[in-house]
Structure formats: structure tokens, C-alpha cells
Amino acid sequence: MKRFFIYLIAFLPIVYLLIRLFILDDVNDPIKYIYTITGVSATIILFISIIISMIKNKINLMKYRKEIGLLSFFYALLHLINFIVFDALFDFEFIIKETLDKPFIYLGMIAFFILLFMAITSSKQLFRKYNNYHKLVYISLILITIHWIMAQKSINITQFIYIGIILIIGYYKLLQQIVKNSKI
């Protein structure tokens, strides 16, 4: 039942996006809007999956972590598909050139490939082998943050709040690590 609700909530953004685009038809800049909805959804869901690991000693939701991580990857994939299909119109020469040229694009790409790697190695067997590398998610989160701030024309209060949340999580994670190390 809990699992059902997780999926229900996680699919709300995509349902909302499709309604706005094709039923209400009131989106002025559809390509940009798809970027925003899929990007923000991927990031928030990724945050939730990280918070699950952080609070596992208090509230244990670990059995849902993998699926939540995969849901985040699902939105990241849509984000990339939007780039390839609508923004670049399948012009792969353009995509490669932009990716090599522009930090804004390659930071996003690296973050995506980290998530892709984690998605592929999320099966029980592979996770056992590669779970250490899953710490890369923190790198991915930092890259996503920079990528997102670079997407804005200027930084405003929303970005400051976001950076604030990142810093709190980073600080908390660092504290956890220190406590863990001192126990050993």
C-alpha cells in the first residue's frame, strides 16, 4: 500500500505536465517547461532518496530507497530526452558540440551519467558489487545544483534557499561521517 502511494505521488508531476501541455494547452514555452518540471522533480526525488539514507536509524524506509532513486532517474531521463528530441531536434553533431563546449550542458550530462550508472547497478547482485560507487550520488547532487543555478539568468531568493538546503544536508552528512569514523 505504501509503495502504491509512493508511485502515485511520484507520478503526479508527469501527469500534471501532460495535462498542462495537451489538455489545458496553456504553456507558452513548452520545451522550457518540460525542462523545469522534469528537472525539479528529478532533483527533489533524489533529495528524498538521500534523506532516507540519512535518517535510516530513526525511521527505516530503506526498502523503498532503490525505487525512489529509480523514479528520480526516470525524470532525469525525460529531461535528457527533451534535450535530444525537442531542443536539439536529433542533431547529434550539435548535441556533442554543445556537450563538449558548454559547462552548463556537460555538468548536467555528467550528473545524468552518474544516475544512469546507479540505475544500471541497482539490481541486488550488481549493487553488492558496486554499492561503494553509489556515493557518487553526492557529486551528482552538487553538479545538479550548479547546472540548475546556471540555467537561471540571475540568482534570486529561490536559489539561495536551495543552496541553503544543500549546505544543511552536506553539513549533516559530514557530521554523520565524523561520528562514524570516530566510533571506529
Binding site: N28, D29, D87, A151, Q152, K153, F160
Partner: protein, 319 residues
Amino acid sequence: MIIIKKKSWQINENLVTPKELFEKRRSFIKLGVASLVTSGAVMELLAKENLPNITLDFIKDENKNNLKLNTYEQITSHNNFYEFTTNQAKVKDIAHTLQTDNWKIKIDGLVENPMEIDLDDLKKQLTLEERIYRFRCVEGWSMVVPWNGFTLSSLIKKVKPLSSAKYIRFETLVDTSSFPDQKRGAFGAVEYPYVEGLRIDEAYNDLSFLAIGLYGEIMPKQNGAPIRLVVPWKYGFKSIKSIVKISFVDKEPLNTWQKENADEYGFYANVNPNVDHPRWSQKKERVLGSFLKQNTLMFNGYEKEVSGLYTKMDLTKFI
């Protein structure tokens, strides 16, 4: 003593319809019926098309380039107006706070006739025209807008610039009760007042336009009421909104976006598909309301009219 005794069919004098009115009644009824019918039909049409009531008188643009207009709805619900918010879709809902009554524009600096002019007076003095222009935002979206207003040069001629005036500097209103973002101080989106500028020969170009309306209606607040600049061959941020001050100066003004980030935004900001923004390509643009992108044109399609202004200039350096 005469006592007038009314017959039963006689009514009081004050209940009698005056003669003139009685005679007018047919035309009055006709007028009423006609206005009901036409306004009904027009209203229905307007509702269908979502167009505003045309309230301005102006010379129509023949639209020789056959540009396909964006809808009134699109133009007025997608606005970069950081004095309100950076959220383009939200500006429309909160722009009502902008106070535009008794709007005055101060024109000063290197001119023979400095003045503070009432916008309503100015409108009476100049002929209104329609200009159907492409509008290209530096962020990569674009639209086609039927503006109403007058050429910038017609205003310049009134104040007679001195020969020492090389640039024009424009300023947007600063008023915290009109603009919520101006209350946020250091957390504001950009530093206020918003400033833009043009070289004087750019300002004299016939394309440079001061718009006081669009689609035949006075300028909606979210689009920069009551008066804004429109320079169609430059990225949208050059087309400064809600102008209160125009100064003629001898040095290149430091415009807001150049001040915010000089690596990415310059003074000229000419639309140029061959010079990328450091973070994204400028080759194509997203037309509002469409999934399909189209190629961006050199000088936004106004190369013939303006390229002469920039001969001998390296457009990759003067961004």
C-alpha cells in the same frame, strides 16, 4: 378663480415625455438595438479570439514580412519583468500594483530642450503607429508582437540633442509600492533602477520604437506599461519597460545586464545566431506556443535596416 378639473385620461405634466425626446425615440431605439447587436457580436468575437478592445487610433502596419502574430494571451502571459518576479508566468497576476496614473518622463542631459513631459500630453502630440515586430529574448524564446506607439526619433527631435550627445540612457521606475522585487534589497533579482542604453545613431534608426500599447490596447502592465522601448534587432532585455527617465550622455551607459554579468551580456546585445551565449546556443529559438524551434535570423531579421550601424565592428567582441 379657475379651477381646472382633470379628465380621467389627463395625466400630470411631469409624466409627459418631452417633445424632442419623443421624436428622437426611434433613432434612440435603433441605436440601442444596434449597439446591443454589434457589441454582442463583437464581444463574442473578442471572447473567441481572446483579443482586447481596440481603444487606440493608429496607422496600421501592412505586415510586409507576413509575420505570424503571437496571440494576445501569449504575449501578455509570458513576461520577463524582474521588478515583479523572475517567474514569467506569474507577472501577469501581480502586475496590477504598478501605478501608472499621471506618468511623467524626465528628459535631461545633453539636449537643448530638457523637459518633464506628461505621457498623456506626449500621446496627443505624436502620431500613433502600429509596428509588427519579431521579439527575441536572450534566453532563447521569441514571439511576434503588434506594438502601438511612435518612433523614438520623433521624441528625440522634440528635445534637440546637442552634438556632444553620443548615447541615450533609459531608466525604469523605482517605486517599492509598484514593484515587489524592489523591496527585497540585496535579495532582489537585479540592482535597481533597471538601466538600458542605445548609441544615438541606433536610437535614430526608424525601427527604434517607443510603445504605449499592443494589439490596439493601452500597454498591459505586465508588458511594461505605460511606455516602453522596443528595439527589435536586439535581445529583449534592451527593450526597457516602464520608462521614467531618458538622459542624453556622452559616454556609453552601463546597462543593467552588463553590470550583472559582463562576460555574458554586453551593451550592444544584437541578436546574432553566430555568437553563442556562454551557457547556451543562440542558433535557434523557441517560438512561444510551439514545440518546434526555428532558426534565429541575423539581427533578428532586420539586417537590411541595421547592419550599416555596425560595419567595422567585431560582433563577437561587442556582444
